[in-house]
């Protein structure tokens, strides 16, 4: 381990670098809108369950009503987002993160 001072300047240097900013924006530009989207989709579901009960109780086929389909769709969207995130992370985030990590490790242990 080198001194704290030295480490700190390395981190600030990396933080200001083009590639780190690219990594951060790839991460945030995917994760933030997606979080807003799934929270809004979930809150919509909860609000409808409280305030739009007539609509939620509409039968679609047999005894399957809108409420059940809407609920199942929450499961489907959760699974899909988890899967899509892993694709995004493996393709767009991990390679860049690994590259930057090796670089910092070289600088801080040198």
């Amino acid at each position: 381990m080198t001194t704290r001072q030295h480490d700190a300047s390395v981190y600030e240097e990396i933080q200001a670098s083009e590639r780190f900013r690219e990594l951060r924006s790839r991460f945030r530009r995917w994760v933030f809108p997606m979080t807003v989207a799934f929270l809004a989709w979930y809150v919509l579901y909860v609000i409808m369950s409280g305030f739009a009960r007539g609509f939620m109780g509409t039968k679609l086929f047999g005894n399957i009503n809108v409420a059940l389909v809407f609920g199942i769709l929450q499961f489907v969207s959760t699974f899909l987002i988890a899967w899509a995130y892993s694709r995004h992370a493996a393709g767009k985030l991990d390679p860049l993160a690994d590259e930057l990590r090796h670089e910092v490790e070289e600088k801080t242990t040198a």
Partner: protein, 536 residues
């Protein structure tokens, strides 16, 4: 042989097996990283199963199946909140925490702030949340085991609570994170197997036609189509607008609370890298999601095959719906013996579930006491690793003993609301502190401390003055009335208060440390300097 005897035998087998694992784990638990984080050597799948094991409590297995059986759709609403919550953990918390922390939630906060105040706040909040959750689980255990084993005397329930408490202490004190994680894995596999088996039998009975199962459930429940729609339990029309706002408040606490629960957060440290943390949350989402889909069939299956009347005769809250369903479907398909065997299996799985969850909670609170309060606040970082682990083990024992004593005291009170309160505190205090410290450059010590105490105190106070504590027939103290807050769930007020307190605390303090933010940002996103798995 009666089902009680068979259940007891199966449960003894489970206890013997998990104790064996615990003693094996204790021989491999030497360093602090072993005790707190299982040597960080679990795979994504193993930790994903353990996440499921920690999360699928008896409240969610027996409780949600029971709510669906009696109140139908509203139980499903609960499980959806529990599931979607994992996306917050996956996208915003798991990997970044794995990269920047060591053993506890406070590690991430203390990284760029004045360590003593933030560790004190995080330690207090961790212990409070865990004890609330622990009490609800243990009091529930006393009642449940009584129902399942036919023990109805007060003394029987007290001995059950003591027995569950002692086992949980043994798992945690000796097995540490390694032993506890294996207990979670075994439990998750048993629970998933049991739930899948009953689900397939129930669906098979209805020719794998969900619609006819739902139709039968609606008809037999005595509630008709209302069973298939929201509104029988949460935010009923009789409760008016306040009830509906309460429903939204509950939904918010469920979806935002998970990623702030201490016993869930420490799971992310048990894997070697952030990528494994990501994989483990994905496995967790898959397992938990499938499990909640199974409980949907179990709940409606119990309504259809056991019927609302027979369920409420056993337990008014419906907690025995799943075991009763197991018996009914077993008897119908395999005869009397089949019914006995399936009931015994599901009852034993339920005990295993309770045990595993309380062990996870005891581990989280004792880790935080030893690592945050003892090592960093009292000893100012001068404690050796060895001393820290000894203190962690002693505090697991003490917290376990306190939990047993409180549970015996609280046994006759209605404390089921404590789970929802634990989620509310986690969402209002812990989550703002974690998110701000990972994503907000300006965030500082005053902000972190204000967010945690602000969220914690607001949630607890609002609940104390809510109808769940006084002023309602179902309240903890039904004979007095000092309530003024109309909602049972504080989230809709306390979550914004927590975030606002974090914001105001930050801007009102001058402290600002750009270089430490650079370090945590680079480390959390790239994994530089992340704690490595230990070699054995």
């Amino acid at each position: 042989m009666s089902h009680e005897t068979l259940s007891t035998i199966l449960f003894v087998v489970f206890v013997a097996g998990t104790l064996g694992i615990t003693f094996w784990a204790s021989r491999n638990t030497k360093t602090a990283a072993d005790y707190y984080a299982g040597g960080r050597s679990f795979s994504g799948l193993q930790n994903g199963l353990a996440i499921g094991g920690d999360y699928m409590s008896a409240a969610s297995f027996l409780g949600i199946a029971g709510i669906i059986a009696l109140s139908g759709y509203d139980g499903f609403l609960y499980s959806i909140g529990f599931l979607v919550a994992w996306l917050v953990a996956l996208l915003l918390v798991a990997e970044l925490m794995r990269n920047s922390g060591k053993f506890t939630m406070a590690d991430v906060l203390a990284f760029r702030m004045s360590p003593r105040p933030v560790r004190t706040a995080a330690g207090v909040s961790t212990i409070v949340v865990s004890i609330f959750y622990l009490l609800a689980q243990m009091v529930g255990a006393g009642a449940l085991v009584g129902l399942l084993l036919g023990i109805h005397s007060e003394a029987g329930k007290i001995w059950t609570i003591i027995g569950v408490g002692l086992l949980m202490i043994v798992y945690v004190v000796f097995g540490g994170m390694k032993g506890t994680t294996w207990v979670q894995i075994v439990k998750a596999v048993l629970l998933m197997t049991g739930a899948t088996l009953i689900t397939l039998l129930v669906l098979g009975k209805f020719g794998f036609n969900l619609s006819s199962l739902l139709g039968e459930a609606a008809a037999k429940s005595g509630k008709g189509d209302a069973l298939l729609e929201p509104g029988l339990k949460y935010g009923t029309e009789a409760q008016g607008i306040a009830g509906k706002i309460d429903l939204i408040s509950l939904g918010l606490a469920l979806v935002l609370g998970t990623a702030g629960l201490p016993h869930i957060l420490i799971r992310f440290y048990t894997v070697p890298t952030a990528k494994d943390a990501r994989k483990s949350v994905q496995w967790g989402i898959g397992i938990i999601g499938v499990f909640y889909l199974l409980t949907l069939v179990l709940g409606f299956g119990a309504a259809a095959l056991v019927g609302g009347k027979a369920i409420t005769e056993q337990d008014k809250a419906g907690n025995t719906a799943a075991p009763q369903l197991a018996e009914a479907i077993g008897r119908e398909i395999f005869g009397e013996v089949g019914g006995t065997i399936l009931l015994a299996v599901i009852a034993a799985v339920a005990f295993a579930t309770i045990l595993a969850v309380v062990a996870g909670l005891t581990l989280a609170s004792s880790s935080s006491f030893a690592h945050d309060l003892y090592a960093h606040v009292f000893k100012r970082g001068t404690a050796t690793e060895r001393q820290e682990v000894v203190v962690a083990r002693i505090s697991a024992f003490v917290i376990g003993a306190v939990a047993i004593a409180l549970s015996i005291f609280a046994q006759s009170l209605n404390v089921a609301f404590l789970v929802a309160l634990a989620f509310a505190v986690a969402a209002s205090g812990n989550l703002p502190a974690i998110l701000f410290s990972l994503f907000w450059k300006r965030f500082n010590t005053a902000g972190a401390v204000s967010a945690i105490y602000g969220g914690l105190v607001t949630s607890v106070l609002l609940v104390v003055f809510s109808p769940v504590v006084s002023g309602a027939p179902t309240a903890m103290f039904p004979d007095v009335d000092f309530h003024w807050f109309p909602l049972s769930n504080p989230g809709i007020v306390s979550i914004p208060v927590g975030f606002l307190a974090g914001y105001l605390g930050t801007i009102l303090s001058k402290e600002y440390n750009a270089s430490k933010y650079a370090e945590i940002e680079v480390r959390s996103l790239t994994g530089v300097g992340a704690e490595k798995a230990s070699e054995h």
